[in-house]
Symmetry: C2
Subunit: 359 residues, 2 copies
């Protein structure tokens, strides 16, 4: 076993990395929970749920709930369904929820855990690379038709358990999605790591390489959220690439483009903006090359006009008083928060469209 | 102005008592909120909303939302409606929600505030005596068909503002309801105060007397929640009378009997139980006399059988591992937590029915 320790405001929690841990999950449970409720999606449940239930049911009372796969399940309807399931299974305050799946499941099951009986303990069991990001830091939420994650809480897991074997079955677009957040963590922290990433093709990475990238990414995120859990300050840096990404996802419909792919595209615009506004020296060409060889879907930008995106960005939940808060890079490893008007942003986005998207 | 200070886990907040403060609310706002969203119910809005809007709109952008009066509005439907209203009014993270009304509005609007954009600031503006209890301590929630307050958060207000003039219009059953929690706070803390209460008729109390009782009640509650915000220990003492009350309310339908009336009835059974189990010396006869002269609806007990009540109590969210956690009194001012099996509770409740309810 190999673990990181995250210091959250009301308790510390471990991130455990262990190949095959799903077969011996009971060994990690140190508390006498009344019952354990595993929440998963149809896809992940088909792959891993039975082995996990098997590893727990000898020692624990186990319930399971399954929602459809995909971002569309981060909805008020599924939230209500899962609360009903908690009630039906007679979960009390001393029960545990395990979120088994990608970021969608972690966000949805985490929001259920944060509000059922005013909060029961929950574990994150991420099965994607992307979820290395969302499983740490305590943000849980569901979507509203008007925007992503508009309804949620800050609520930290009691533990994060990564069975790195579950990453072996990820399809290409999920690898790409995960590496959208990995590359973001590299941009925020470490030039050397970034260039190592930009020189590689994602679909040829070894399990050990991926596992190492996950640890690095989680450490970058943890170092930030430990200082600013509630996002009053530097936690905003984690939104690099996200302002455009959220607008894209909302406009195309959640799930049409994966979150991490949208972030990867958003980072390119943030780099361009950093060059234009701060005259930063950034490896834009290397990054464009990396996006290309890994088949990131730059073409989705053509489906949405700059006008519509700017309107969406203005109504991002991070916008305050109509000003858009954008994360730029002074250099690799040095992000800053920049306030920009919608008008100015529109001008830059038009230029980005003509020089990059339609070039 | 006259204020109490409450120390919560993540911030301190004031409870302000001021007659007529609704006409000068702006004076109490020290922050530049982007907008202010007042949430109220039809009854309270009819009485006070226009004067509050008038006192704010010169200096602030103000939105209002109104839900039907009564416990039935603490529902998933109204929660969703209010979230939609927050989105429509383009509330950002720097906006303020004001909960104007009784405990229902405080719980509902507080839960909205705790989850909209993962939390925006909110003020409690209680307009009932009962809400002296719920406005302090940070518990917010909505109901589930299976039970009261099953879905919620711990989320402290940024301020509590009591305009004691708004208590003048309360109907008799609301006075009774409020004094159900007042008498509980006296039982938990102070024999002298309790006897002073038991010697008085609620409908003849002066405004100053009521105001004084509110302050005392809030101080009792604050002293407890400051030590144990998340109810791991002594906060459970505040549930005196509530186990039976919740079962009664759920069984009769929320709103058929007021919450505080149900609590007052529940306290009588808790006193009887304390005598039977702990041989406590408690003023049961004086309390029965007080319930009678103030017309507390003891007769509602006849509408529900002991069997049904015990089943409900077993499935109270405070029950852990099937054991019912009951708050008893060793003496006035000395509550204790007692674990009791459903069987034993059933026996005591049967006796209570034959000796008290049907006597």
């Amino acid at each position: 076993m190999d673990a990181l320790l995250i210091q959250a405001s009301n308790h510390d929690y471990e991130v455990v990395f262990e190949a095959g841990v799903r077969h011996r999950l009971s060994e990690h449970i140190k508390k006498a929970y009344t019952s354990i409720h595993i929440i998963s999606d149809e896809q992940v449940a088909g792959l891993y749920l039975s082995s996990i239930v098997k590893s727990l049911e000898a020692d624990h009372q186990v319930h399971t709930s399954i929602v459809p796969a995909g971002e569309a399940s981060k909805s008020m309807e599924q939230y209500q369904y899962l609360l009903d399931r908690c009630v039906e299974s007679k979960m009390d305050r001393n029960s545990l929820i395990i979120a088994l799946g990608g970021g969608m499941i972690g966000d949805l099951a985490g929001f259920v855990a944060s509000t059922y009986l005013r909060g029961v303990e929950f574990w994150q069991m991420p099965t994607t690379i992307l979820a290395h990001d969302s499983s740490v830091g305590g943000k849980v939420a569901i979507n509203h038709p008007a925007g992503k994650n508009l309804i949620g809480s800050f609520y930290n897991p009691a533990k994060v358990v990564y069975d790195i074997e579950t990453l072996a079955t990820l399809p290409d677009h999920e690898l790409r999605s995960g590496y959208g957040e990995v590359v973001k963590h590299a941009m925020l922290s470490d030039k050397e790591w970034l260039f190592d990433l930009l020189n590689s093709r994602i679909d040829t990475l070894t399990k050990d390489h991926i596992s190492n990238d996950l640890r690095k990414g989680i450490r970058v995120k943890a170092d930030i959220v430990e200082q600013d859990e509630r996002e009053h300050g530097i936690r905003k840096h984690l939104n690099l690439g996200h302002t455009l990404a959220h607008a894209l996802e909302a406009e195309l419909g959640y799930g049409t483009v994966t979150h991490g792919e949208a972030v990867a595209v958003g980072i390119l615009f943030a780099m361009q903006l950093s060059k234009d506004i701060l005259h930063s020296d950034l490896p834009v060409d290397d990054y464009v090359n990396w996006l290309g060889k890994n088949h990131y879907p730059m073409k989705v930008l053509k489906e949405v006009s700059p006008e519509v995106l700017v309107k969406r960005m203005k109504w991002d939940k991070k916008a305050v008083d109509g000003k858009i808060h954008y994360i730029l890079l002074e250099q690799i490893g040095t992000p800053i928060l920049h306030q920009i008007s919608d008008k100015e942003l529109h001008r830059h986005l038009n230029r980005f469209y003509s020089e990059v998207v339609y070039s």
